[in-house]
């Protein structure tokens, strides 16, 4: 196994050396960023496929099984072809620019989140290089801020569609997210307090001995629930409740415009899963006590993220949808007090560690 790590390190070593000296490095970094976005996009595709198959297993059905062999591997391609060839309808009542802009805003928010996500940490000649498009001191706060942009995207869609269902969904989304961004933020702060840094790389490094899911399990639960609400999955998918609001804010979208909006959701879910794996599940640190097992860190991140995604799908298969007032109740009356409690707990533990 060691040989793979050596090869991997050698390639990364070369790339980092090459880019850090070359004067066109910013451009190349942009290209790498595009590649990372593409990678996460691929991750979203994997999640869609996984959702269909895994949810199918939970619900005792087969899932896609025609296009692309008996496992339906090409189903997504077929869906994309279908979406691209559908008529693009902008309703007469719609506010055109808001309507067009909404999926773009939602997807952009996802893209911007990817920029600061580190996938691995390479130590070359004593220097540490995070495998990220961009590193910054406050990357976790940036992540939180940028992810909130998607709320505007959904509200733009809800308002701009000129449909009552979409409008209700937009209202629901705002009502829900006001309640859930707060515990999300508090939990992130308690993680940062424990790691003594707002930088995701430092947060992951702080988990080399013990994962934060073990150090603050309550924080993990709160963050997990708030994240489910953030990415709008059952039981928190009130914004696109099919049986009540007919897909909610996406009611009026069609063709690839709907595809973009749909994909923005999965993109958010994938990024959310990666963030959970980074700030609670030890990121590239492998398993606690056992270590990395000579597997490159990026694979650990991906494997952990896939587990988180499967957890999300599992929740979807196991739970009905909550009502919007109950969602707000849980947010304000349960999650925020728990998040505060967790902040106190993590502050105490963090100070003791320091």
């Amino acid at each position: 196994m060691g040989i793979f790590v050596d090869i991997y390190d050698a390639i990364m070593n070369f790339l980092i050396f090459f880019f850090s000296t070359w004067e066109l490095a910013p451009w190349v970094r942009g290209i790498v960023g595009g590649a990372v976005i593409g990678g996460v996009f691929g991750g979203a595709l994997v999640m869609v496929y996984l959702e269909r198959k895994f949810l199918g297993d939970i619900q005792s059905r087969i899932g896609p099984n025609r296009v692309g062999g008996r496992f339906g591997l090409l189903q997504l391609i077929a869906d994309a072809v279908k979406l691209f060839t559908k008529e693009d309808i902008i309703p007469a009542n719609a506010d055109k620019w808001l309507f067009i802009g909404a999926p773009i805003v939602a997807l952009t928010s996802g893209f911007l989140m990817v920029a600061v996500i580190p996938f691995d940490l390479l130590v070359i000649k004593g220097n540490e290089y995070a495998l990220a498009v961009s590193t910054m001191d406050v990357s976790i706060l940036y992540l939180e801020a940028v992810s909130a942009l998607a709320i505007f995207g959904i509200f733009m869609a809800g308002w701009g569609s000129g449909s009552k269902y979409s409008l209700l969904a937009g209202f629901r989304n705002i009502a829900k997210m006001i309640g859930y961004e707060v515990p999300l933020g508090i939990t992130i702060i308690s993680v940062a307090v424990m790691a003594h840094s707002l930088d995701i790389v430092e947060i992951v490094k702080a988990q080399s001995s013990i994962w934060f899911i073990i150090a603050q399990p309550m924080g993990f639960v709160v963050f997990g629930i708030a994240l489910l609400a953030d990415v709008g999955r059952i039981p928190f998918d009130q914004t696109e409740a099919e049986e009540e609001l007919i897909a909610g804010w996406a009611t009026e979208y069609s063709g690839m415009r709907w595809g973009l909006a749909f994909f923005a959701e999965y993109f958010h879910a994938v990024v959310g899963a990666i963030v959970v794996s980074l700030i609670f599940l030890g990121g590239w640190n492998g398993l606690p006590l056992i270590g990395n097992l000579w597997i490159p860190g990026i694979f650990w991140v991906i494997v952990k993220a896939i587990f988180v995604m499967m957890g999300m799908i599992w929740v979807r298969g196991a739970l009905p949808r909550l009502r919007i007032d109950q969602v707000s109740d849980i947010g304000w009356k349960v999650l925020i007090p728990l998040a505060m409690l967790n902040l106190v707990w993590s502050t105490i533990i963090g100070l003791m560690w320091a």
Binding site: Q59, R61, K164, Y165, L168, E244, P320, L322, D325
Partner: protein
Amino acid sequence: MTHTTTQITSPPKPSEILLHLGPQHPLQPGPFLLDLKIEGETIREAELKIGYIHKGMEKVFEDRTYIQILPLTDRICYLASNSNNDVYCRGMEELLGIEPTDRAKYLRVLTNELCRIQSHLLGIGEYTTDVGFLTMFIYMVREREGIVSLLEAITGSRLNHNYARFGGVAHDLPPGYKEMALKTLGELKKLVKSHDEMLSSDSVYLKRTKGVGVLTASQAKELGVAGPPLRATGVEYDLRRVEPYLVYDDLDFDVITQTDGDVFSRVKVRLLEILESIYIIEQVLDQMPTGPYKQNVMPYITRPAPGEVYSRIEDPRGEMGMYIISDGSDKPYRFRIRGPAFATAQALPPLLVGTYVADVAAIAASMDSCTSEVDR
């Protein structure tokens, strides 16, 4: 509740909007238009507009001979086609003055109970998908498949059975049916019990259903509902017990009731009724007498004596009645269908007032309405 009207009386104020649910909407079993006047997420007034698949059956039946009507009664509601056949045949038997053979009575009870099971399974399934619980829907449809196969083995068709005849039934049981049925029903019993346990312990599901859409016994009586929504309020009103028809007075069964009258209780009543129906079927299969399953002579042209009859039966959804007036010819003079879903659909708007938009799906689906039968 007394003075609650069933229509929207005034145009929406600036703080309110008028939301049209339908005629095509994912929550609905069929097309109807539910207009809601909402303020925020709270429903202020509701109005149900039906008739989108009005088939004019009562008029059509006046122009068909009695035998020709028989297959058409299936189409009143495809989930209760057996009950509809049965109520029609019972009415006709009264008009004609004949009595079904003993074996036919047991066979009709058997198919009626199977029909009730599959209707309840799909009803619960539609309901759970309306609260966002797709998994249970697919489980329910999977379980229903076995029951539909049992019905198919007797009647030859999966949905519109057309099984009952005047004074008998169309076919006898296929060989080896008892073992097949007991095997399927034994599995179903276990599965339904586990689903019941799952639904009774799921905290999110309980949050969505407990105390939602509450009907008290007196309100339910005033609104004129029957069937599971009424029994969920604690009223022991089941025509199988109140007015025992066929061989129900020889069979041992309980009338399932719950006390809360909310959405949860209605679904619970259906789940427990499935178990009770399985129990009835087990008795029927044990006690099934031998003998002819139909009358020796079944005339194609039936001319009952002038007169009238109101026959009714406990449908999966409540009280199904047919009022047939004969003038001595081979066609009915007047044919009135009193469907249970019509009564429950009428009771829906008053139930919705004051609830949230998200509860509309839960409440409407828990009443288990069948648009095809409402519109006829």
